[in-house]
């Protein structure tokens, strides 16, 4: 088994302690990604039942602030990550796209629950449900479940942080900023 490392605190580079100070060696991009990944503010965006689970994740018992998802913002202008928590219907799809477009770069997307991944329970015989939020906006991390437990969402959020540190999110790949 590999040893568990806390990548949130692990500095991406070398730190040489010297008397009276020190020298840090790193790539600026790595440091920026490291900083960004530890301060991801989610957008308050819950379209159905998974939203309740997202609220539970935000509340005291699970508390995603511990991992840098400090506080959910009610405006896309101040949010870094959009957690698609719930069913996306045809009428909601343009709104989702617009919210995504209004978010400032860099921005990341988590699809939470079966609905956001594929339409989930509404995959067959539906007249209104979009079969996966990735038909509308690019998704970085998918969380399976209906609904996923808060632990699963936390795991997804941490996975997103690691993805950002590796420069592998859609946004980072698209803009060529690793």
């Amino acid at each position: 088994m590999s040893e568990q490392v806390n990548t949130a605190q692990q500095f991406p580079g070398q730190v040489h302690d010297l008397p009276g100070g020190g020298i840090v060696l790193s790539k600026l991009d790595d440091v920026i990604n490291w900083a960004r990944s530890n301060s991801l503010w989610p957008l308050t965006f819950a379209t159905s039942c998974c939203g309740i689970e997202m609220m539970a994740t935000a509340s005291a018992k699970y508390d995603f602030s511990r991992f840098g998802f400090e506080v959910a913002r009610a405006t896309p202008r101040q949010a870094d990550v959009i957690i698609i928590a719930g069913t996306i219907v045809n009428k909601m799809a343009p709104v989702l796209k617009r919210l995504y477009d209004q978010m400032a770069d860099p921005k990341y997307v988590i699809a939470m629950g079966a609905c956001a991944i594929s339409g989930g329970p509404f995959f067959y015989n539906t007249y209104s449900v979009v079969k996966g939020a990735d038909h509308v906006i690019p998704v970085d991390v998918y969380v399976a479940g209906c609904p996923p437990r808060p632990e699963a969402l936390l795991h997804a959020l941490i996975s997103l942080q690691e993805k950002i540190k590796m420069g592998m999110t859609r946004e980072q790949i698209r803009t060529g900023k690793e």
């Binding site: 045809n90 009428k91 067959y124 015989n125 007249y127 209104s128």
Partner: protein, 171 residues
């Protein structure tokens, strides 16, 4: 205290035998009215000092595809908040000409409810100030809750009917 019997007697006294099908499922007075009279009935239920049904709890439609000439039922749920009594009445309309008078002049709450009923069943509420879709996309050109569509894809083989409470040992 207002009883179902009193409400029924008052209605019959006022409208005679055009109101039909009185019944009390689960203790809730239910009857049917001709669709041209829906506003008159509601106005009476609203204005009468004793009845005072001044709150529209809900309004929706039901599609009975085999009932020729009266395929769509519009169901009104009214509430007398003072005596805490609820009643329900229905009007029927044909699906070729699903015109029913709007209740928006009497109950503000009817506005969105009628839009929703139009959205899903295509009931045309005459006189509604803004009768357009409210939940579905505007481009939709059918009324999804009408029983005109197969419930699910008949060619599917991945679903075991027994697991869904139909067929098999459940019946």
């Amino acid at each position: 205290m207002l009883t179902n019997e009193q409400i029924k007697n008052k209605l019959i006294e006022k409208f005679g035998d055009v109101l039909t099908d009185f019944s009390e499922p689960y203790g809730m007075l239910t009857f049917e009215a001709p669709k041209d009279l829906n506003l008159k009935v509601m106005q009476f239920l609203y204005d009468d000092a004793e009845l005072g049904f001044q709150f529209l709890t809900d309004l929706q439609a039901v599609h009975y595809p085999h009932d020729k000439g009266r395929e769509l039922a519009v169901v009104y749920h009214l509430h007398n908040l003072k005596d805490n009594v609820r009643i329900r009445f229905k009007v029927f309309t044909s699906i070729e000409q699903p015109d029913v008078f709007t209740a928006t002049k009497l109950y503000e709450a009817a506005n969105w409810m009628e839009r929703e009923t139009y959205d899903f069943f295509g009931v045309n509420f005459i006189g509604h100030p803004n009768l357009k879709r409210v939940l579905n996309v505007d481009e939709m050109d059918y009324f999804p809750m009408r029983k005109e569509f197969p419930l699910e894809d008949q060619t599917r083989v991945d679903k075991d009917d027994e697991m869904f409470g139909r067929g098999g040992s459940f019946n």
